[in-house]
Amino acid sequence: MNAISGAYDWLTTSANWQGEKGVWHRLAEHLYFSGVCLAVACLIALPIAMLLGHIGKGGALAVNISNVGRAVPTLAVLILLTLTPLGEHGDLPTLIALVLFAVPPLLTNAYIGMREVDRSVVEAARGMGMSGGQVFARVELPLAYPMVMTGVRSAAVQVVATATLAAMAGEGGLGRIITAGFNLQNTPQVVAGAFLVALLALAVEGVLVLAGWVFDPMRGRSRVSE
């Protein structure tokens, strides 16, 4: 396959990795956008989801926000924001779009995780005299942790993908290698860029699976009560 060996050549040409349009710089942009936005989205969504889950209210909102997020095209939001006055502030439209699309999976998963904690366990904790805060920190949070981490993983994958699309709205990141390849009608570059993006997405997911396991508060203990 011509394009595939071409892509290999593109990736092994060191000139393609250097400079402002090189892979390293684009990767740094991509990781910067993704990291900052994922952190901001977590800071916004997780406390809200956990509070709602703890008091058991707002379930319809937490669940439906994901369905709404699914129906809204990311590309449209990126381009709409770029055309608003926000577009004059450089990266701001992209950062906002990234946060907007990272919030739904975080909110929904963390909420469901909190609600799926066995009610009898929570009742037992209360019966032992735990306060609301103690129940939250020592019972609900450790038990909801896997779902919370699933949400973080989904959000991270979402953010990496959205950051790629930002290139179509004229922003930086690894997606820029792909869009530049399309503009130059350079198929090997398109394939090489796509390969790098796919690799990054899978690496991010892999790292988060590992991190989820390492930081699991219940590691080595069973979540099942039987």
């Binding site: 394009a3 595939i4 590309l75 709409l80 959000a155 994958v157 179509m168 398109v190 796919a198």
Partner: protein, 246 residues
Amino acid sequence: MSKRDCLVANDWICGEYVRSRSQELIDATVEHVAITAASVAIGVAVALPLALLARRWRFLAAPILGVTTVLYSIPSLAMFSLLLPFFGLSASLVVTGLVLYSLTILVRNILAGLQAVPEEAREAAKGMGYGPLRLLWEVELPLALPALLAGVRITTVSTVALTTVGAIVDYGGLGTLILDGLDTQFKAQVLTASALCVALAITADLLLLALQRLLTPWTRAHRIRPGRFARKADPAKSVAKVAEPV
């Protein structure tokens, strides 16, 4: 001039735009619907045998579900770009990419639906002399239909949104208008096409919901009575998969 020209002023909302470019909007919408419909239809046609394989041979279940899950985490722009050497700049590139995304949810839901068929129903059918094909077609598939249709609904909504990314190869339906509007800074075009896209997703969802009710009237009969339980179980059920590829 007494009347302000919204096309010249480049307003976000412009009736004149919708009037003068209605043909362009209709063409883009038709293309969008065609790409989405083809992708979901092919997706179901591919997912069904995969789900049957995964059920028939247990050892295949893990690799099939694993591969479709990995496909799901690949960003859409990369997915379409990776298919470029195989399909060139064509609508089949976009459809193939969308089919690959749809498999994750479709295979999962069909498999779950088939596995939830009560053993008694299967035994009864066998006792009545049903062969494996007739068992599948007349007993198992109808019983798995609610799960299948739920998967089709989720897939359709996210496919409508994802089709826009096809604009990178000029086959993005309304997405092509959106991307075009960015180059020309044409606000009315971007907003109108985006709104149509969301409207399309909602319409498709409601139509599929109606179809679901029509095809599976038995699922409604007992939902009315135990209101408390139904409501309690509902939120978790409606979220089969909460992430969506972008």
